[in-house]
Amino acid sequence: MTDYVDAGEAIPHAQLSNVTGEAPATGNVDHERIRGARSEPENWLTYYGTYDGKRHSDLDQINTGNVRRLTPAWVFQAGAVGMQSGASTYSFEAAPIVVEGVMYVSGPDGKAWAIDARTGQELWRYKHASPYDVSLCCGNVNRGLAVAHGKVYMYTLNAHLIALDARTGKLVWDTVNGDVRAGESGSVAPLVVKDMVICGSAGGEFGVRGHLDAFDAETGERRWRCYTVPKPGEPGSETWPDDGEAWQRGGANCWVTPTYDPELELLFQGTGNPAPDFDGAVRPGDNLYTDSTVAVDVNTGEIRWHYQFTPHDLWDYDSTMENVLFDAPDGRKLLAHADKNGYFFVLDRTNGELVRVFPFVDRITWGEITPEGKVTPKIYPDEEGVPVHFWPGPAGGKEWTHMSYNPQTGLIYIPVQEVGATATRRRREFKESIPYWGAGVAVDIEDFYGFVSAVDPLTGEEKWRWNNEYPMCASNLSTAGGLVFQGTPTGEFVALDAATGEKLWSFQCGSGHHSSPTTFSVDGRQYIAVPTGWGGWIEGFLPGLLGAAAGDALFCFALPES
């Protein structure tokens, strides 16, 4: 009999680090405070900064006159433990939230942190141990957290909505909200509205039935669920085959955070592509509510109106992208949406009426949309085994990464991708958890470029553009300092003049950008925070950089103190 040395009980990994384990208490973030987030620009209280999705800050300490002096204040290295090493490992896609000097941010692989926003000191960490084999379309990623009611909310890769104690990072509640055996997963940053947490599902590439859900912020109990593909007999079901199974596997997932109008009490949610992505013959009809913006009553979960950007999509043109809320000079309540299909839409957000549509990319070959909104497909994979090339590719003229709107210039700054793809239809039978595309797809690895386009949404006029050799695959940020911050796939973080597009500053972060920068201030000092890390679904949006430098770090920039 061997006398074993007593190895004791396994300890939390963080115990072998300098993590303090506790964040300072901050003032209560609640619905009214998030609703008034514009009035406290020192904080970045919710995913887009404000409910309207403008991604604009009124901070102006860093401005066109001094941005050349911007330097790193600190860097937080996310890192990884274990055997995984791939594009998914490094895609740091979140938008950091900041409340009174405490930053809350999520990373790849189920990780979340509280960080001292002045110094970069790690205060607490949480890691959700998601299975390695969850069906994930687009990387081992998470787009961010929501903070409210003393809690931090995260939607996990294996579709659990969890609440953590904002001071300690300890689990408060855990609600299972998706079926991983069906191919459902979670990557979205939740949104807190009133006393509810809102989050949508992912998994359209695996033929699930998309939905948006609301939960009690205190208990995690579900309040309502809104399916974005109707059952037979429900409104919109006439756009699906009435004698088939297509609606059961229809996609239309809500994998990007909605915007919200507190006066109308409507959530504006973009929905994903129909499944299968490229084989429309198994789902004749317009396939509502795929590729749409749906206006959802926040109190009931009912769809009040919808606008479909690509009826009967055959190109993987999800419309999950953000819906930016702004008002026209005459007071009309509008909504701006740059769609994957290469067209920019302005809608009346009270009723979904089309106000304006115009292209925002250079190359559109899949079809045409008239100024009146009439959609005419031209090129699509309708013959088995026959390759078809089209622009934009399935990542779209703009993917999920976000544009910003500066109320001072009246311009919207769009991160544009100019990448095409070839799809070859290959019909397959549906099976749960298996990719359900209906085609083989190869995105171009040459002949691409990108730019930031400054567009007047009231006229459709492009005021300026900043060109780049590579497509723009990251969100940008607008500030009252007259700046637009934009990360590039090759690692540069640049500041552009919001009025002219002139590049005023650049810093090489060592790995590409595929995240959402935010800004905040502590003790009167303004910071710009940007998670970096080239990764995720690179083969879908820019395979020409699949071999680029990887690494997941969060940079925080500020002007020198002296």
Binding site: A7, A10, I11, P131, D133, V208, S433
Partner: protein, 154 residues
């Protein structure tokens, strides 16, 4: 308990992939024995994982659990070298040193279903085979399932 490896083990042995420094330098990951956790009356799952002498592997290499929840692993190092284990657990991974002829425990919380990997993040241990898997079976709760008829599975 650990099951026999059957035909797959014979196949791996024939290929020289079942041990250290045969065809490869180390051992292919998760090409070892399969074990099953036992469930206590209180629902806690328990299993023992050993590190055999000079084999640089966890035994069982693949541990199967009927469902997620709390798991107590007993870890025993029968090797004449020091190893460790960094194990997945909700909240934070758990770490344990396992010096020569050491025995300890790890209390984990994992969701199901799905596969979780762990390893000895010490030196080159993972590269030589000290990577294990915890596989959780079962289904998600009914309230988490989609409102649609049952669908075909692979």
């Amino acid at each position: 308990m650990t099951t026999t490896e059957g035909d797959r083990a014979a196949e791996l042995a024939a290929a020289g992939l079942d041990g250290q420094n045969r065809t490869a330098l180390g051992r292919l990951i998760n090409t070892g024995s399969i074990g099953y956790a036992e469930e206590d009356a209180d629902g806690v799952l328990r299993a023992t994982v050993r590190i055999p002498e000079d084999e640089l592997r966890y035994d069982p290499a693949i541990l199967i659990l009927p469902h997620g929840g709390d798991i107590v692993l007993t870890l025993i190092n029968d090797d004449k070298n020091t190893h460790c284990a960094v194990l997945p657990s909700n909240g934070d991974p758990k770490f344990i040193w396992l010096v020569n002829h050491a025995k300890g425990t790890a209390t984990l919380n994992l969701d199901g279903p799905g596969t979780y990997y762990y390893g000895s993040a010490s030196g080159n241990d993972e590269g030589r085979g000290l990577t294990g898997a915890i596989v959780i079976g079962g289904e998600v709760p009914d309230h988490a399932k989609l409102d649609r008829p049952p669908q075909p599975r692979p």
